[in-house]
Every structure is written in structure tokens, then in C-alpha cells.
């Protein structure tokens, strides 16, 4: 609709809108289902292609005979993975590792958000801790393990501690960046409306920071997941067969197929969570009109 003949076309636009809504309401469920399947296929086929290419290259290396005795091919590995999926141990490991991931990441979100909120709004705190947070973000979290093991021993607490140290700085930084890049014009508009301090923060700065915050969450998740797997390889707790423990056992037994299976599981779990963040990110961008397609 051209802005030029706006007044004339507003009723027409409204009618068209009503018509579109009516169409939406009358759409039969199966038609909607077909559309959904179409969309799913559009999203899926590049990924299927990528997996096929990886498997192909893998098979080629296997066929070439490089390290033939110890390097398994995709067929053997996948059947090993399939076998493990039939048994309870792998599922239990997935459950234990996922639980740690959820708890650790949740703690990191809470701590990161609180620290980010304080540091972004209080100038002396920012001067004191701003660069420290960025420094922590670049610190390889595996370096914290000796410190954490001495502090908490071989325990879940140690792993959670390192997850939080790995993820919270990214989350805090995401929020700080969001606050910093709140458009000045919107801030002026908010102040003119009479939003002050807490209300300005709650109704303007926080929602304006949301996209950067989600980006921080996504990055924080990547760090949390890395810290967790590293931690499970280093901190092996009895009777807690996590994915890291299975991987470590496979290493001890030189079970290459088993180790590769676990690596695939870890990769898939990481990708699934990353996709969840991707969906959240796209939903926000669509809502804000930041996508080119709307």
C-alpha cells in the first residue's frame, strides 16, 4: 500500500485484512497440515544434504583404508549407536548430562542476567567489572577445573560451577550490549512519556535489549555445553554414568565406535538446543519486523 493515497485506501485495506482473516479461519486443517509439511521440508532438505555429504566423506576415508584397523566407517558406528540406543545406559547418560546442562544453564542465566542488569545500569560497577566480564568470557573454562576440584572436590557442584563461569559472562555481556544499544531516540521518547528509572528499565530498556540478550543466551549455551562435556571427562563421579563418563570409558577400552557414537549424540544434543534458540531469535525478529521477508 502506498502511503500516498493512504486515507482513501485505509478502508480497503481493512476490508482486505478482514477477508484475509476470514480465509485464515476457513482454512481446513489438512490444508494447513500440508503447508506445515512443505515448510518443514524446505527447512530440512539442506540439513539432510549436509548429513549425506558428511557420511559420504567419512565413508570415502574409511574405504581409502586410512588407519583401517582403528578408524570405523559410518555403517559400523551407526549400528553401534543404534545398539546403544536399545539399551538403557545411553539414555540414562543423556538424562544425567541433560539435567546438569539444564541446571547449570539456568543458574548461569539467573546470575548472568542479574550481573548484566547491575553492571549495565551502575556506572562504577561497569568501570570495575566491565572488562573483567569480557575477560572471563574469553577464558577457556577448562582452566577453572583444577580450581573448582580443589574447592568442591569430585562432585556435581564442581561441574555446575564451571558451567556457570563459562556461560554467565556471555549472558551478562549480551544484556549489557542490549542496554547499550537501546536506540537513543526511543529513550528520549520514553522519557518524554514520563518513564523513569525502574519503569524506564522495565518497559523500555529491557524489551529493547531482548534480541541482544537472546544472542547472549545462545552464545552462553555454547559455552555451557562445552564446559559441561569437558567437566564430565575430568570429573568422573561414581554411579553417575554421564555422556562424559561413557566417552571416557570408551577411551579406556579403545572402543572407537562407541566413542564416535557418543560424540554424535553430544553433537545432536547441542544442535537441538541451538535450534531452539534459533526459533526464539527468529520469532523476535519477525515480531519486530527485522526480517526482510515480512
Amino acid at each position: 500500500m502506498t502511503p500516498g493515497n493512504q486515507q482513501a485506501s485505509v478502508p480497503a485495506y481493512a476490508e482486505r485484512l478482514a477477508w484475509l482473516e476470514a480465509q485464515e479461519a476457513e482454512t481446513p486443517a489438512d490444508q494447513r497440515g500440508r503447508r506445515l509439511a512443505n515448510r518443514a521440508w524446505t527447512a530440512l532438505w539442506p540439513k539432510v544434504l549436509a548429513i549425506a555429504i558428511v557420511l559420504g566423506v567419512w565413508q570415502l576415508i574409511h574405504v581409502s583404508g586410512w588407519k583401517k584397523l582403528i578408524f570405523p566407517g559410518p555403517a559400523g558406528t551407526l549400528s553401534d549407536l543404534w545398539g546403544q540406543l536399545q539399551r538403557g545406559l545411553l539414555w540414562r547418560a543423556i538424562a544425567i548430562t541433560s539435567e546438569r546442562a539444564v541446571i547449570g544453564f539456568a543458574l548461569a542465566v539467573v546470575i548472568g542476567a542479574v550481573v548484566g542488569a547491575l553492571v549495565s545500569r551502575i556506572a562504577p560497577l561497569r568501570a570495575a567489572f566491565g572488562s573483567l566480564i569480557t575477560g572471563l568470557q574469553t577464558m577457556p573454562s577448562i582452566a577453572w577445573f583444577p580450581f573448582a576440584i580443589i574447592l568442591f572436590g569430585i562432585s556435581t557442584t564442581t561441574i555446575l560451577f564451571v558451567i556457570v563461569l563459562g556461560a554467565a559472562p556471555s549472558i551478562a555481556n549480551g544484556l549489557i550490549a542490549g542496554v547499550d544499544y537501546t536506540p537513543p531516540l526511543l529513550l528520549r521518547a520514553g522519557k518524554m512519556m514520563g518513564l523513569r528509572r525502574l519503569s524506564l528499565y522495565r518497559y523500555l530498556i529491557l524489551p529493547a535489549s531482548l534480541p541482544a540478550f537472546v544472542a547472549g543466551l545462545k552464545q552462553g549455551w555454547a559455552f555451557a555445553w562445552r564446559s559441561l562435556v569437558a567437566g564430565e571427562l575430568l570429573v568422573i563421579i561414581a554411579n553417575q554414568p554421564s555422556l562424559g563418563v561413557l566417552l571416557s570409558t570408551d577411551q579406556d577400552q579403545a572402543d572407537m565406535q562407541g566413542a564416535t557414537s557418543i560424540i554424535i549424540v553430544i553433537l545432536i544434543l547441542g544442535i537441538i538446543v541451538d535450534m531452539v534458540f534459533g526459533v526464539a531469535d527468529r520469532a523476535i525478529r519477525r515480531r519486530w519486523g527485522l526480517t526482510g521477508t515480512v
Binding site: P3, L17, G289
Partner: protein, 273 residues
């Protein structure tokens, strides 16, 4: 009131209402940005009274400090010297000053209705009242059916109308408009002039409207104040004795606009000498 707190520390205690007939009064106001040799004098000893209910247009070449002047009245900035005072509570329950920008400055995470409602929430209105007032205000700017749309789903003119509804939601006595239609095409602008006339008709609004479009100023204003550039000074003012409804392409508007343009040209040639 808290929102005007900053401005009031400059203007001093509220003056006795009886002796202050102007809704906005600038007395000998100067604004200097920066210090020492790099200092820029944006406004120089501006004295201007805007009577309650008047539609005043400020016009001048770019760099004449028009926007700075609005920021001072809005309390977003403080004058270097002089006094800015805004008559408060003129209608009882009035809430000072509302400001509209060249960009709509709508919040992209809220719907059109949400944007209007937030201004009402900032005033502390309850939920039921907020909902009712939001509907009314969107009707006022003829966006009744578009409350659920997000800013990016609206056209430029519609967004600016939401911004107008949001400014009206503040229920301010004084509405400051900083080239609000400057980014719109001529036809949309023309329609929004009519809308603004209609909206103002039922309200005792004092408006200061900044523009560099002389015809727009004559089309809308009761009075056109001409500012010089660098530093901004009031050099002339013109009453607009043309009855409403006006048309931007009418002969009388064109004639007065021509005279004002001549005055501006004269001033600019002084400058360049």
C-alpha cells in the same frame, strides 16, 4: 510532578498563574554547546511567549537551533542562560509537555495499541481505563482497526498517526512537534495536516511545531516565528490571519508563504556576506 522536575530547577518555583498568560515562555534563553574555542552558540537570547491554545510554527534554515529549542521546552536539555517556563496544569490534570519526533519512535516490540497504552501506563492509569482510552485515541487518529498491528506492519503515515495518538495519550497541555511530517511524502503530509487540524479542534492544545517547510507552517499555524541561523535568534514573526479550513495550495497561503520565504532569503544573504 516528577517528570518536570529537572526543568523546574531551572525555571525556579512555579510562577503565580495569574500573571503568566503564556503556556510556554522563553525569556532571554541562550544555549551554548561545548566550551572555549570550540563552543557553538545554538540559540542566542531567545524571548518567546506562546499563549495557551496557540499553534506556533517555528521556521528557519537548518542549523537555526529549532530542535534545540524544543528540547529545552521539553526539559530534555537545560539552557545555558535564561529561563524556560511551562505553565503546568492549565486544564487541571494536564501533564506538561509531549514531544513528537520526525521519526515515529514507536517501540517495535509493542503493537500500535501497546504503544499508546504505555503512555497511559506511565501516567499511572488503571487497566480498564487504559484500554478504553487507547481505543478512543486510536479512533481519534482513525486507526480504529489497527490497534493489533505492529509498527513495521503500518505505513509511514500510519506510524506517525500512532505517534500522535501516543503523544495525545499523555494528555499534555503543550505538544511539541519536531518536523513530524518531514519524512513523509507530500500527499500523506497533506492528509495528516487535515488530521492534525481535526484533532486540535476539540482540544485546548498549545502546539509548537518546528518545520523548514514554509507552506506547511502557514497551512497549520496561528503564528509563524522566523529564526536566523548560527546562532538561532528570533528575527521576525508573522500572524496567519487565514480562516480554517485552509489548503496548502490556496492563494492566500501561497502569498503569505512567499513573503516569509523572502524574509528568510534576506536573512540568509546577510549570513553569507
Amino acid at each position: 510532578m516528577a517528570r518536570q522536575g529537572d526543568a523546574m530547577t531551572v525555571t525556579g518555583p512555579r510562577q503565580a498563574v495569574g500573571e503568566m498568560t503564556a503556556a510556554v515562555r522563553l525569556t532571554d534563553v541562550s544555549k551554548v554547546f561545548g566550551r572555549g574555542t570550540s563552543a557553538v552558540r545554538a540559540l542566542d537570547r531567545i524571548t518567546l511567549d506562546v499563549p495557551s491554545g496557540e499553534f506556533t510554527c517555528l521556521i528557519g534554515a537548518s542549523g537555526c537551533g529549532k530542535s534545540t529549542l524544543l528540547s529545552l521546552v521539553a526539559g530534555l536539555e537545560q539552557p545555558t542562560s535564561g529561563e524556560v517556563s511551562v505553565l503546568e496544569g492549565g486544564r487541571g490534570g494536564g501533564r506538561g509537555v509531549a514531544l513528537m519526533f520526525q521519526e515515529p519512535a514507536l517501540f517495535p516490540w509493542l503493537t500500535a495499541a501497546g504503544n499508546v497504552e504505555l503512555a497511559l501506563r506511565a501516567r499511572g492509569l488503571g487497566r480498564a481505563e487504559r484500554r478504553q482510552r487507547t481505543t478512543e485515541l486510536l479512533d481519534v487518529v482513525r486507526l480504529g482497526g489497527f490497534g493489533g498491528k505492529r509498527p513495521h506492519e503500518l505505513s509511514g503515515g500510519m506510524r506517525q498517526r500512532v505517534a500522535l495518538a501516543r503523544a495525545l495519550a499523555q494528555d499534555a497541555d503543550v505538544l511539541l512537534m519536531d518536523e513530524p511530517f518531514g519524512a513523509l511524502d507530500a500527499m500523506t503530509r497533506d492528509l495528516l495536516h487535515d488530521e492534525l487540524d481535526r484533532v486540535c479542534a476539540g482540544r485546548q492544545l498549545t502546539i509548537i511545531f518546528v518545520t523548514h517547510n514554509v507552506r506547511e507552517a502557514v497551512r497549520l499555524g496561528d503564528r509563524v516565528v522566523v529564526l536566523s541561523s548560527r546562532p538561532g535568534r528570533v528575527i521576525d514573526e508573522f500572524a496567519v490571519p487565514i480562516e480554517h479550513p485552509r489548503r496548502i495550495d490556496s492563494a492566500r497561503v501561497a502569498e503569505l508563504a512567499g513573503r516569509i520565504t523572502d524574509r528568510l532569503r534576506e536573512e540568509m544573504s546577510h549570513d553569507s556576506r
